[in-house]
């Protein structure tokens, strides 16, 4: 079993809740942080950007110390500040799952978490599943079963599958469906994703992981 997240702001065991997210950000920054619709009222007061603060992040076993604004999401920092672009951006509002990372071993949307919230937690991204240049078992299974088309949602799908298999090493089809239901694939490759998760379960067992 994965560790229970030590998240102070969220109250949802499998990811930060929207309420928790809003509480942590503060009302002023919400609009900016979520990059909401462009048609804000004309002349509305701009959000306070705030001073950047030092944030220490543990990502894929490495510690990164960066200066981050309070409103920066973990997703933004991963992609645009650290260049870890394996994690994709699909909606920035917790709906598509393209930005799924493991947060203390549990899949969570990096767009719904502030970088500063991630301090003190172990973050794993797609890059962290690699063994040097070798693919990890879930990645191998996705390759073999052709479980993607354009590949843009794939990193998130792989992280969701990785998280699922860490808690449920031998999932039933219904468990696979539920475990993968937070990750959208517009190319519509779900049936191959189901096969890939089963295959990954076998590969992980064979590798003793």
């Amino acid at each position: 079993m994965a560790k229970k997240p030590k998240d102070k702001s969220g109250d949802c065991p499998h990811g930060v809740s929207r309420r928790g997210f809003f509480t942590a950000v503060g009302a002023g920054a919400i609009g900016a942080a979520t990059l909401g619709r462009a048609q804000a009222a004309a002349g509305a007061p701009a959000a306070e950007a705030g001073e950047p603060t030092m944030v220490k992040l543990r990502i894929n076993g490495r510690t990164h110390t960066i200066l981050a604004e309070a409103r920066w999401t973990l997703l933004f920092v991963l992609r645009e500040k650290l260049g870890l672009t394996g994690t994709k951006v699909g909606c920035e509002r917790g709906e598509c799952g393209a930005c799924t990372v493991l947060f203390d071993g549990i899949p969570r949307y990096a767009c719904m978490m502030l970088a500063m919230e991630a301090e003190g937690h172990e973050i794993t991204t797609l890059e962290g599943l690699m063994n040097g240049e070798e693919l990890g078992p879930v990645q191998t299974a996705f390759l073999q079963e052709d479980a993607f088309q354009c590949g843009y949602c794939t990193p998130g799908q792989i992280m969701a599958a990785e998280g699922l298999l860490r808690t449920t090493p031998d999932p039933t089809l219904e468990e696979v469906r539920t475990g993968m239901s937070g990750n959208l694939c517009r190319c519509g490759t779900y049936s191959h994703i189901f096969k890939a998760v089963k295959k990954a379960s076998e590969l992980k067992k064979a590798a003793g992981r």
Binding site: G31, A38, A42, G43, K88, L135, L143, C150, P155
Partner: protein
Amino acid sequence: METPKLYFIDGAVPETPAPSGTPAPWTETRVVGKPLPRVDAYERVSGTAVYPSDVLLPDMLYGAVLRCPHASARVKKVDASAAEKMPGVRAVITGATKAADLRWYHSRTVFTKLFDPTCRFEGEAVAAVAAETPQQAWDAVRAIAVEYEVLPFVVDYHKALEPGAPPVHEGGNRVGETQKYQRGDVAKGFAQADKVLEVTYSTAAEIHTPMEMHGCVARWDGPRLTLWESTQGVYPIQQRVAAVLDMPLANVRVIGSYMGGGFGSKLQADKYNIIAAVLARITARPVKLFLTREETFLCVGNRPPDEMRLRAGVKKDGTLTALEMTVVGTGGAYPAGGTSLVDWLVRDLYTCPNVRTESTDVFVNGGPARPMRAPGHPQGAWALEQMMDALANTLGMDPVELRLKNIPTVSQANEGQPYTTTGLKQCLVEGAKAFGWNAARRRSKGDGPIKRGVGVAAGLWIAGDGGPPATVIVKLFPDGSANLNMGASDIGTGTKTIMAMVVSEELGVPIERIQIENADTLTTEYATASGGSKTVPTESPAVRDAALAVKRQLFEIAAEELKVPASELRIEDDAVVSTKDPKANKKIAALQGLRRRGLIIGVGTRGPNPEGKVINPFAAQFCEVDVDTRTGQVRVLRFLSANDSGRVMNRLTYENTVMGGITMGIGLALTEQRVFDRQTGKVVNCNLHDYKIPTAMDVPAEIVSNPIDVPDPEANSTGAKGLGEPVTIPTAAAVANAVYDATGVRVADSPISPMRLVALLAAPGTRG
């Protein structure tokens, strides 16, 4: 109908020189057809594939666009003074900015300014910002004060035609004349019919919503512009951007690299390309400008919503006597094919001597449409294929039987020209057999509140033939490895993999030893955008032609060294071998002539399609659903698709494409619908929570692909026809027919939402 023109909005269809030969069709294949994983799978699952939205350049700024919040408005005043002074802001551009005073064309005939004072839909661009971070850019966008004169709007395409409706354009809300088609005499046809049915069907607007949002990174090097663009075709982007900015094509480089889905919405350049280029020019720094998910719902395309009144006449024995269809639909605020091709299946899918159609395309104050996976066809199938089901039911015939009764051998809509091949009959017969159709039809619907049913629907796709232009270069290195240079984008359909397989088939080079260049106008050869299910039938013959050009040169070299005539040589694995004497052979890597040259280059082009014939892919799909009659919830339990798309090039990616088309069709059938607020004309569901695409919970685990694997030797030298679109054409109609089979309720309007279905189940007189 010249199908390639569907995808060329920026001028005439270019042509390429004739190919170097007309090779015979493959009789057997060694590599082509195999279920091989993708050549770029490693990059896509490891995260090393750099998508345009992943591009990070030194000193890069971020762009954001201020969009009109009203369905119809006139921009009276834009005050950017506060925004310009905000932290991190490096440029604000508006309609008053000289560098942004550019002409934009929505279609060949309708021009506006880049930032036009007249905003005809919610989401039209009004101003833009470049700043050090995207957060600062959005802060500044919010700080721009715009004074709008809010104007009356119309978003309902029926109301748009009423007298006194607010005109979207001067001259009213009709997009040109009503389009009419006629053959035979429908009055006579209906008089001959034993049964006549008339139903009005409709489909809701769908949004493409590819997972990677639309956008680009723009960078200038002096007079030269480079765009990293998430696109289905780098060349159309280059053409439009160069035209709008009045630049030589040679100074506009568009890099496609990978891209995260398009489905037709990324075939063309967008205002954001120009905005990013202008911001980058003004600031002299690279600018990354990607839309937000909400923006992608408003301004980068949709599948037009259509209403289709269909009247059909049939004899007792199932012979169709007349079809009459009246279509009204909208492509939004600019000409965008709101009813385009909706009537095509009525004209062409089944034998019918008397057909009449009328299509009226209407302007509304909504985002302009773009081609979406088989433009017009899923809408047309929703109507025609439900009608076929209703006719079968009226006659007491099996729906598969009724379709088989009316299979055409010629394309009636193309003046009776024959199809090169048509597998429509086989799709229906073999599909029904593999699905267990007869047994499934006989099974009980269930005694409880949950009812089970099965449905069938068929279709064809007007294009899928491919054709010129296409130029491809194949290079053979002295160690026998190869390079494939092709400008076509792999939009997730496995294009690169299939083309590598073609090279491997001809030259024996293992797939892993073929390097493939990503679409880039600087480095790869001319290709049309990947759309219309035409990429494989267009590019694969050109790739084969290029590989054969290499092979000819290779054989000339080997002939000299083996003292065997070139005509008597063949390739076996990594060696050139005499067909007469197997002992006369030499490894490709050991050929001295190849070593001395260092490289063999083969140029391939795409020849024309046969004259006087029609090349279409065909499909039939079967599905099983259950319906909770208490809640109206529909579950799709299994699906089978039988496709005639000519030769199966890669069994694994083929199956994947089939599955994807079905998944998207399930969305059209059950959940997808853009919703306008009637009070404001704004779209109320601009996100993936309120606009629901199929998830892992909504698709059957069992989706079977049952290809009719018959190469089409007349179509082109690889025998392949298009697949990506025909796989989604019949899907929604098949689901609707299964819902009817389960419940006896005909849902004529998409989507079949629980709310709509329970209302129909409760209404008297809707069953039967």
